[in-house]
């Protein structure tokens, strides 16, 4: 394909966030070029659990997730391709009194926002996921929201990408951005392995590589890569629909549409650095914990096990919006472990900002500037 040499907006990164943005901006009539160094879904998106949860400890995350779910619910229809959405709920295990107090606080706040969520007892836990061993997982209760769930990360991202192309966006794979071009304090475009593209707006949606992309524009990001492992078993007949998670044990698992059990847990012997080889200590710890939660799964065979990286911000919330020093440089990263589920709303806010100049209190709440000289309000409801 012939290389374009100018655009209204250049997006760096072909994950769920970059592709969603490309679609929405193109739909608004902007000339959009998305550049992906490898192929669509080669980053965190293609490695993730794609769970969608609205049960958060901060009001803002809960609101972002709730708005995102509303968008996910209509997305297959809007894009004209199925995204594989399934709303089987998230069951969050409560292990002790301390967790119970936090759960009560969370549920109360979530309810004021209109979320269908409740605290359930052991009998109700067994009704929702019959294979769970309430004693084995040391549960005293759980919280449950039936509209949480998951979508297929590949289907969703490819649906965005194909809809974006239909709206006139250009998507170039195997085209890494080498450098963001700047003149004084404004973005001028990007340099790729195939030449330069001029553009007044450049979106950094490069996932865990965002820090490197920002550096080329002289912007320092506080993000850190966290290595994560995840596994999947062979398929079995459908047994449960909910995603089961525990903040204390860090485990999460669910049964996918096709019947496989997919899940992850933090590695007890984590090593530092960008290591991508899966470890035996993860799979052992995962298997042991999973069987403590769901003993009947013992005979199931693990067929795949892989790693991916979270791009983690200091408060585990995404960093989005225009840079305050470099005009036209748009942040869209720091998604930590939840960039799939928040993507619909985050990219909608960014689209409205880029295309219509519309701001929002969320953009302020999620701006890079929030880290300057302030105490960090950390999201506590995180797993994996």
């Amino acid at each position: 394909m012939k290389m374009k040499n100018k655009a209204d907006v250049v997006i760096v990164g072909g994950g769920v966030n970059g592709c969603s943005l490309a679609y929405q901006l193109a739909k608004k009539g902007l000339d959009v070029v998305l550049l992906e160094k490898k192929y669509i879904c080669s980053g965190a998106t293609g490695r993730c659990g794609a769970g969608i949860r609205q049960q958060w400890s901060t009001k803002e995350n809960t609101m972002l997730a709730m708005e995102s779910v509303k968008i996910f619910e209509k997305l297959s229809r809007e894009l004209g391709f199925d995204i594989g959405l399934r709303q089987g709920g998230y069951l969050i295990v409560v292990h002790d009194k301390k967790e119970m107090r936090q759960a009560e606080k969370n549920v109360e706040m979530q309810k004021t926002l209109g979320l269908d969520v409740s605290i359930i007892d052991s009998d109700e836990i067994k009704e929702i996921v019959p294979i769970l061993d309430v004693k084995g997982m040391h549960a005293i209760a759980a919280t449950f929201c039936p509209t949480d769930g998951h979508a297929d990360p590949f289907k969703t991202t490819f649906a965005y990408a194909m809809a974006a192309k239909k709206e006139g966006a250009t998507i170039l794979t195997h085209t890494p951005v080498i450098r963001v071009l700047k003149e004084k304090n404004a973005v001028k475009g990007v340099k790729t392995n195939k030449g330069e593209i001029k553009a007044p707006v450049v979106v950094n949606a490069a996932g865990v590589w965002s820090k490197k992309v920002a550096e080329t524009a002289g912007i320092n990001l506080p993000n850190q890569p966290y290595r994560k492992e995840i596994m999947v078993t062979e398929r079995i007949k459908p047994m449960f629909e909910a995603m089961v998670i525990s903040f204390k044990d860090g485990i999460y698992f669910s049964q996918q549409d096709e019947g496989q059990i997919l899940g992850g847990i933090p590695n007890p012997h984590e090593r530092k650095g960008y290591l991508t080889d899966p470890t035996f200590s993860f799979i052992q710890h995962m298997s042991k914990t999973l069987l403590r939660y769901a003993p009947p799964l013992g005979y199931l065979r693990v067929i795949r096990h892989w790693t991916g990286f979270y791009d983690v911000s200091p408060d585990a919330r995404p960093i989005i919006g225009e840079d305050d020093k470099v005009k036209g440089f748009i942040h869209c990263h720091g998604f930590s472990g939840h960039g799939f589920m928040l993507s619909p709303m985050v990219t909608k806010l960014l689209t409205e900002y880029i295309a219509d100049g519309k701001t929002s209190p969320f953009l302020e709440w999620l701006s890079l500037e929030r880290f300057k000289g302030k105490t960090i309000q950390k999201e506590v409801s995180v797993v994996g």
Partner: protein, 90 residues
Amino acid sequence: MKKTIICRCEDVTEEDVLQAIDEGFEDIEELRKRLRLGMGPCQGRTCIPLVIRILAKKTGKNVEDIPLPTSRPPIVPVTLEALASDEDEE
């Protein structure tokens, strides 16, 4: 029309593969993500060699020049029970 199954584990046909190549999914890794091909219990042992041949034909490349997908453990599926059994020996 007669359908040729390429990936038995994930039920992917030759037409699916050809269509995806036309959509721009031009290497094994991309096709795998697009079609789930090679992600079944046999981990691609049956289908990947077939896909390599289709890709070679479609793109005019030599079979040896088509990069293989990343191989992911376990090489042979192992039960959760077996994996959970010896944590203490580490």
